[in-house]
């Protein structure tokens, strides 16, 4: 009996062994490979028209009509488009495409691919990224009329409603505007999914790289696009993001030389890395901010602008940035972060308890008031514990006479309450969707967008109008002036206390040179070298 089982098992093993194909060795060695330790466990799709969580691979695999050069997110430049024209009313955009651009498949890029890309984003069901395009008034019904190929190398986009030209171009430069190879994608469509099932873990782009594999929860790997002809072939031949969730393990792997860049290090780990010569710290401001929101209806005191102002004067911004964030953040008090057009470096507020108390007196709440503060579990922007930050704010506001009850809940629960206009005070953050000031000014100031201002029931028509007016302009000094006015208005009257702007800090091996990166495109692998 036992012998029979053993012989059967041996025969089975030999059979399987014979049937399985041999393995292939990786084509590129460590010198041509850059390994980036990052927590990529939340990635759900690498389809440019669907993906939302982790877009750096997407930016390297797809090309767009226009792009932001790495490190400069204030002005787009043509990429697939050789040139483009904007009509006087900023509603019609004509893109003249480069000739002879090849996708990784070898297919030639044409205006049909651009049209198909737009059709995809408004038609894919349950698409988290679709609102970037549908907010312009483009939907499944009108996309044929709005986006047209007038000849194989000309695309005309005639927007059905006025939309900020700065925002439009920056969305075109965003991952969602990555042009897909329509022939390849169409051959993988299943059940009307516009190829989104296949494109989630495959690629069909014309960027410098192609997706070699994405094994969910394990690793994302890029290798060069053999047909890339929009620039010189990149020196780095293989980019791998192994999914390493724990920052301690990321630091260990950097120390062993198994990874070249560690992305999710804590402020303390970053500080320690600076003292070691084998590594360096690459740091830029992230495009986002941590803020304190005050609901102007649910808390009677916050209906008074003086009470909101009192909160802004009661907070110890310096202490938050220097002690809590250990320098992993920049001071920011306006609604547009550093790195974007329209950023204003003014810091009008500092901790002044007497002034805060006087403002409360003026508001008719001299004996103080009480409010619940919603805080999520986990980290706030910049890696500090959200609970620690909330405790600091409770302490700061308490000194001015405002009693804060901290209610710590899961992020999903926080957002349900907040989005349902049920909060009193909320500690939250806002990060860039597309690098244009419009992506910050409108959520913070324009209640008609049903975003942050609306959630806090701050219905200010002047603020909404200013945000809208500034949004409709190109990056001119006039636009900058409008954002300055909006910033001042929100600082005086708005329902937010902007706390700080977090930094992105990478721990990088000294073997990596020419490390240039920004908050949208990620590192520039075409320029990067490894020795």
């Amino acid at each position: 009996m036992r012998r029979g089982v053993a012989i059967g098992l041996a025969l089975f093993l030999i059979g399987v062994w014979a049937a399985v194909p041999g393995r292939s060795a990786p084509a590129y060695g460590p010198q041509q490979t850059v390994v980036i330790a990052e927590d990529i466990s939340s990635v759900v799709s690498l389809d440019p028209q669907v993906g939302y969580e982790f877009l750096i691979p997407v930016h390297n695999v797809y090309s767009n009509l226009v792009q932001f050069p790495t490190g400069n997110l204030t002005q787009v430049r043509p990429q697939l488009a050789q040139s483009y024209e904007v009509s006087k009313d900023a509603r019609t955009y004509t893109f003249h495409l480069r000739h002879g651009v090849k996708f990784a498949s070898g297919n030639t890029l044409s205006a049909d691919d651009v049209v198909y890309t737009f059709e995809r984003v408004v038609n894919i069901p349950k698409d988290p990224a679709s609102w970037l395009i549908t907010q312009m008034g483009i939907d499944a019904k009108n996309v044929d009329q709005v986006v047209k190929a007038t000849d194989p190398y000309t695309v005309v986009i005639a927007l059905p409603k006025p939309f900020s030209p700065g925002a439009f171009l920056s969305i075109m430069a965003n991952a969602v505007g990555g042009i897909v190879d329509s022939k390849t994608v169409k051959s993988h469509v299943q059940n009307n999914d516009w190829g989104s099932g296949w494109l989630a873990d495959h690629s069909a782009g014309s960027g410098p790289y192609q997706l070699a594999r994405w094994e969910r929860q394990v690793a994302i790997e890029l290798t060069p696009n053999p047909n890339y002809n929009l620039g010189p072939a990149p020196g780095i031949k293989r980019i791998v993001w192994p999914n390493i969730m724990e920052n301690t393990v990321q630091r260990d792997a950097l120390g062993r030389g198994d990874v070249d860049i560690a992305v999710n290090l804590s402020a303390a780990q970053i500080a320690a890395l600076r003292k070691e010569s084998k590594y360096y710290v690459a740091q830029i401001p992230d495009l986002g901010m941590e803020y304190l929101g005050m609901d102007v209806k649910n808390v009677p005191a916050f209906a008074k602008p003086q009470a909101r102002q009192a909160v802004r004067w009661a907070i110890d911004y310096d202490g938050i940035v220097k002690s809590l964030l250990a320098g992993n953040a920049l001071p920011l008090q306006g609604v547009i972060p550093k790195g974007l057009f329209g950023y204003i470096s003014d810091l009008p507020f500092h901790r002044d308890v007497a002034k805060a108390k006087a403002l409360l007196q003026e508001a008719g709440f001299g004996s103080g008031f009480t409010a619940d503060l919603l805080v999520s579990t986990g980290s706030a922007a910049g890696g500090v514990s959200a609970a620690d930050l909330a405790a600091k704010i409770k302490n700061d506001l308490g000194a001015a006479g405002i009693t804060v009850n901290i209610r710590q809940v899961a992020a999903d629960e926080l957002y349900k309450t907040y989005r349902g206009q049920q909060s009193q005070m909320v500690l939250a953050n806002w990060f860039v969707d597309y690098p244009d000031p419009d992506d910050f000014a409108k959520p913070f100031a324009d209640y008609t967008q049903k975003s942050l201002a609306w959630r806090l029931q701050y219905y200010s028509d002047p603020a909404a109008k200013l945000a809208d007016d500034a949004g409709s302009m190109e990056n001119t000094p006039q636009r900058a002036a409008l954002y300055k006015r909006l910033n001042d208005m929100m600082g005086q009257d708005g329902p937010f206390a902007i706390l700080y702007q977090p930094m992105i800090s990478y721990g990088v091996s000294a073997h990596i040179h020419n490390m240039v990166f920004d908050a949208v495109n990620g590192p520039d692998f075409e320029r990067m070298t490894k020795q």
């Binding site: 609102w131 094994e215 301690t248 393990v249 260990d252 999903d412």
Partner: protein, 337 residues
């Protein structure tokens, strides 16, 4: 009662348990004070998109209707589509379960390989220094938090000494073997890919020890106490009186009976290893079902949560059943009832 009837009755009971688990999980997932659609779309999604997607997902229908639709799918072997990654839950489970089975099985083997001999040595040297040493070791397994042991051992054996590899199932410069079972080491063995097999086994050592350490402690203590108990029995004295060598008395006569409670512990902890590997999987970047379950819960991905719960409940039921059957095999006095 015959073995067949026993199995049939237990299977019937298991189906009842699985149905109960489905009802409770479904109800619990819907009373969570959070919005699954916002969790999926992200905080920036405008309210009209949220409502559109809520409709597309069928989450705007009455709860009983949603449950009946789910049950209907279940009866047809369909666990639904994961909201997060838009793939069938069965496909996700088929991808993540093998990694956890591989890790848990390795952990169990490590626990048995260390736990039983240590328990025997402890019992034979009751209150001597080997026993004291084993007690400290076992106590560590039962009381040290998994993440602490994991980070400590990674820091020492990987980061400092470099004798064992870091996180993941394979090194980045080892080509993965072709997928046959989804268990990397097994696939490497089946395809005769020796470099990959060596690499996979080296990657398995630390997480398997860390995950199995808790069970090792319990198995050690269990083996020790039941062996001590058995060694006092009359038949052991008889065996000795007959002149049987001590080694044979312990291994042949005493251990077989002493292992009975240990088998129960092994069966039950195997179930908990499969479902409780999440911390180990997180620290060692192991793409298993524990990670999938946590992601599903934090994203309120109801079909995925239900799928994982069902699978884990199923594994527990099977593990219990196997323990009961093994019991009767090890002790002929026990009858199926």
């Amino acid at each position: 009662m015959s073995l067949f009837r026993f199995l049939a009755r237990r299977t019937g009971l298991a189906i009842f348990v699985l149905f109960g688990v489905t009802v409770i999980t479904f109800a619990l997932s819907h009373v969570v004070p959070a919005d699954p659609v916002v969790a999926y779309l992200g905080d920036h999604a405008p309210p009209d998109l949220v409502e559109k997607v809520r409709h597309e997902l069928g989450l705007d229908r009455p709860l009983p209707v949603q449950f009946v639709i789910y049950l209907d799918g279940l009866l047809h072997g369909n666990l639904g589509i994961s909201v997060m990654d838009s793939r069938p839950v069965t496909q996700d489970l088929a991808q993540y379960l093998p990694a956890t089975v591989e890790l848990s099985t390795a952990a169990m083997l490590v626990a048995i390989a260390i736990g039983i001999p240590t328990g025997i040595v402890s019992a034979l040297h009751k209150d001597g220094w080997p026993d004291q040493l084993a007690r400290v070791f076992a106590l560590g397994g039962a009381s040290l938090p998994v993440f602490y042991v994991a980070l400590l051992l990674l820091g020492l054996l990987y980061s400092r000494l470099g004798v064992l590899p870091g996180p993941g199932q394979l090194s980045l410069f080892t080509s993965p073997p072709p997928v046959i079972t989804g268990m990397v080491a097994v696939d490497a063995l089946l395809s005769g890919d020796w470099p990959a097999l060596g690499d996979a086994l080296r990657h398995l050592v630390l997480p398997a020890f860390v995950l199995g350490y808790y069970s090792t402690g319990i198995i050690t203590r269990m083996t020790r106490s039941s062996l001590l108990e058995v060694m006092r029995q009359d038949y052991v004295r008889t065996a000795r009186a007959k002149g049987v060598v001590e080694r044979r008395v312990v291994l042949r006569h005493a251990l077989r009976n002493a292992l009975l409670p240990t088998v129960t512990v092994i069966g039950l902890t195997y179930g908990s290893l499969l479902s409780g590997a999440v911390l180990t999987e997180t620290i060692f970047s192991w793409p298993g079902i524990g990670r999938y379950a946590t992601n599903s819960v934090t994203n309120i991905d109801i079909p995925a949560v239900l799928g994982v719960t069902l699978v884990i409940a199923f594994i527990y039921s099977v593990a219990n059943l196997v323990v009961d059957v093994l019991y009767a095999y090890l002790d002929p006095q026990i009858r199926y009832t």
